[in-house]
Every structure is written in C-alpha cells, then in structure tokens.
Amino acid sequence: MNANEIRDIVEKHPSDRGGLIAILEDIQAKYSYLPEDALRLLAEETGTSLVDIYGVATFYSLFSLTPRGKHLCSVCMGTACHVRGAPVIADEFSRQLQTDPGETSSDGEFTLDTVNCLGACAIGPVVVMDGHYFSNVDSGQVKRIIKKTRAGLDDAQIKKHMRHYLYDVNCSRCNHSLMDPDHPIDGAPSIRLTMSSERQHGWIRLSALYGSFTVESEFGIRTSTVLDVFCPHCHGELKSPTTCPLCAAPMVTLFIRSGGVLQICSRRGCKGHMLDLEGAGI
C-alpha cells in the first residue's frame, strides 16, 4: 500500500460522509480489497472515525477486507437462477476451485462469490466471470468456464467471434522477417513495411492478428489511396501480379513463415485479402 496513492484518492472525493463510499470503491479498485492500513490512513486523512469507516466497509458485500483472487466469479442466486439450479452450479464451482463461496482459492487465482440477483433473470442461471456474462449455465459448463478464464477471457472472446490468429511473415523477395516486436499492435509484434504514396515515403505497421485491420503509419493516408509497399530490408517492391477481388488494386505478397502466402490489398481501407496456407496459389 502506498500512502500517496491513498491521499490522491481521498483528494478526488469530498471528505464528508457522502464521499466515503466513493473513496472505498476507488481503494478497492486499486488493491482489489481494502487493506487495513489504507482504512487507518483514510480515517486520519478524512477525520472520519475508523469505526464508521469499518462499519461501512463491512456493511456492503461489495467491499472485501481480505485480498481477492485474480479472477472474480459471481454465481447468481436470485430466485429465477435459483429455481433453475444455481445452487448446483455454485457447488460445482466450489468443488472445482476448492474454495467456499465468499472465499479465495488457495492459489490466489479465483474468488468465488454468490450474489443475490444480477438482473439478468431471462438468461439464467447466470455466472459472471471478471465482468463477462455466461448465460444458461449448467454444472457441466463450469469446468469449461474456469478453463476459459485461466486462458484469458478477453483472448478467448476474440477467437470465438472474430477468428483472429497470429501471423509471422517474411518478405516475399529477401525472406527477411518483417515482424517488429518493439512496436506491438493488438498486443502482438507488428508487421513493418515501408510505403510510398503521393510522393510521401515512410513506415507502415500492420497488426499481425488475422482479422484485425489495425494500421499505424508514419503519416496519414487517405482512405482508398493505393500504396506502393516495399520491404524495409531489401527495399524491393512487394507488388503481386494478382489484383484484389474486392477493388481490383494490386495485392501485396507476404510469405508466412510456417508455410503459405498472404496477399493483402494495397488500397487503404480495403479489407480484401487472400490467404493460402499451402503456398501453391500464386
């Protein structure tokens, strides 16, 4: 706990009774629980007595005085979820995580909580894992939810909905790697190329996530400009004889290291691309 961090939080809110809950919420957001030292310091800073602060902190089930796990799992026990078998699901979570409701698993990964109603009765039984809602849960899904959470819920969601996966590409002329781990885009090394357009010349970085069209470039490029793209190592132009199936602009060819060819449209804003993992379709 850092005393200055607490002071910063206290300064942001009114120091009367009305600001107390907001302050406690911010402290909890920072440390995932309310450390004893933080509450003592808070009492000193705001002039509120520790008894009152402790009373509020223990009154609301939102606040926790013990450290919480990395992932917070809330099983809804509202009436609608209850009649659809929420207690069985809570038991299954207890068994799988080897922890009781309201407590944190011994490896510090999961905090299991039961809540009274999440207001999502129509899709019950509901389980909320780190803010991600799982609907119509049955006890057989519990193991999968936990596994998914361990793998990272945000990644899992992207894979499921947008079919992302990572490329590793080389220049199609000199076979140098084009990956730039120093400038990640979408949390992964970017693909660095040089480009020229309208007498401007500079770098451009593409996301290596398949399906992500995030682009960074040295200077702004107007949408639907056709770019000339070069390898930053051999300076050869990466133009392919094929044209984009969507806009008929020339394609840019890149070799995928694990085998195969990726062709992307050279027109800014066009999402046309061709992926040939056999490498035979050039």
């Binding site: 004893e36 520790l50 008894v51 009152d52 402790y54 609301y60």
Partner: protein
C-alpha cells in the same frame, strides 16, 4: 407547546418532546431497553411501542423516537400494544435468556415462557454501548460491523482500539453480556478487568468479589449451537 392526548388524558408538552417523555411525565409506564437518558434515541429494541391515530389508520410506533404532534391520540397500553410488547419480550428472551435486564422486564410483564428456538446470544444489538462510547465518552472505539444477521458490535478489525480508554462505559450500560468477559481472547479485550484478577475469572471460585452484572456469570460458558 403541543397539545396531545395520552390514554385519554390531555397534556401539553414542548416541541421536540418524544412520546416516551410525554407519557412518562404523566406517569404512564412504558418499558424500555435501548433508551437511556443522555443518549440519543435509537428505536432498536421496539419495547416502547405505543399506538397512535384512530380507527383503521392506527399504527404502532416506537415512542422513544416519535416526536409529539399536535392533536395526536396515543395509547400506551391498548391490547394491540400489549400483544406487540409481549412478542418483543418473548423474542428477547429467545435470543438472550441469561440477561438479568431482560429477565426483569419479562417478569414485570408476567411472561414466563417463550415459544421460539432458544438461543444464547451475547448481544441484542440495542446499540447502547455504541452510543455511550460515541456520545458520552467521545471515543468512538466500538461500532456496528456487518449487516443483517452478521451484524455485531466491536472494535474495527477486532483488535484493541487506539482510541479506547478502557473506561468501561460500554460494559456499564450493556443489558446483556456482550462486552463483559473477553478474558479468553485477550487480544480482543476491551475492558480486561477480569484478566487482571489473580487468579482470573475463568476460575470460578475466586470470582465472588468481582463486580458482575449478572449472577451467576454464565454467558461466557454457555455452549452456542
């Protein structure tokens, strides 16, 4: 001045007077438990219930917190009041039968048994000690923690409070036994008086001289289920 009728007797009281004070000044007895002169009204024990209003709009209110109103008709011993009061006493007996204060109240109202599952709580959450600590001792060392059935009285984090002066005010006002003997858990001790006896109070034979609000002191020995 506010004029109101209590049990058919008209009386005038100053603005801000509670029904309990007005009734007491006329000599109508209203049993109380969580009320104490010098402490703010709290309305926790519901023993001081009286009936106000007439006909279908009559309702029960706690007289210690209800301020006198012009033309109010108050009944301190109607059958509805007595029924509610007896129920409260039975519930108090069910949770805290070893309390001398509660036993006395029950005896005064001729209640000899209660119908509920017997428990042996140390605390009825009347809040007397909390208010004593805050309002008379200016300490705010103890307070309520938790909510609902997990509500308890004690110091923050269950360790001895820095602002507690061991004045014993909380123990003095306590109608049950919550804050009395904490010898068995010295780190939580609020008073610590019994722990300073030699031999300490857990050895019962030496206990006769110790000032205790309950004879015999059993609250700390009763097994809780």
């Amino acid at each position: 001045m506010i004029t109101l009728t209590i049990n058919g007797l008209q009386t005038s009281v100053e603005k801000g007077t509670t029904l309990l004070e007005a009734a007491s000044s006329l000599g109508f007895p209203i049993p109380t438990l969580c009320h104490m002169e010098g402490l703010s009204p709290y309305g926790a024990c519901r023993l001081c219930m009286v009936e106000i209003g007439e006909g279908p709009r009559a309702k029960l209110v706690s007289s210690c917190t209800y301020p006198a109103q012009e033309g109010l008709k108050v009944r301190t011993a109607s059958s509805r009041v007595l029924r509610a009061r007896n129920m409260v006493i039975e519930l108090l007996l069910a949770s805290c039968p070893q309390s001398k204060t509660i036993q006395d109240i029950a005896a005064a109202h001729n209640i000899r048994r209660q119908r509920f599952r017997q428990e042996y709580e140390d605390c009825i959450l009347c809040g007397l000690c909390v208010r004593m600590c805050e309002e008379q001792m200016m300490a705010k060392a103890i307070g309520f923690r938790g909510r609902g059935q997990n509500r308890t009285v004690g110091t923050p984090f269950d360790i001895k409070s820095d602002v507690c002066r061991l004045c014993g005010g909380c123990i003095y006002v306590c109608p049950t036994c919550q804050l009395r003997c904490t010898y068995t858990e010295p780190e939580k001790a609020i008073c610590g008086g019994c722990a300073n006896l030699a031999p300490p109070c857990v050895e019962k034979d030496q206990f006769d001289d110790m000032m205790c609000y309950m004879t015999p002191c059993v609250a700390c020995e009763i097994e809780k289920d």
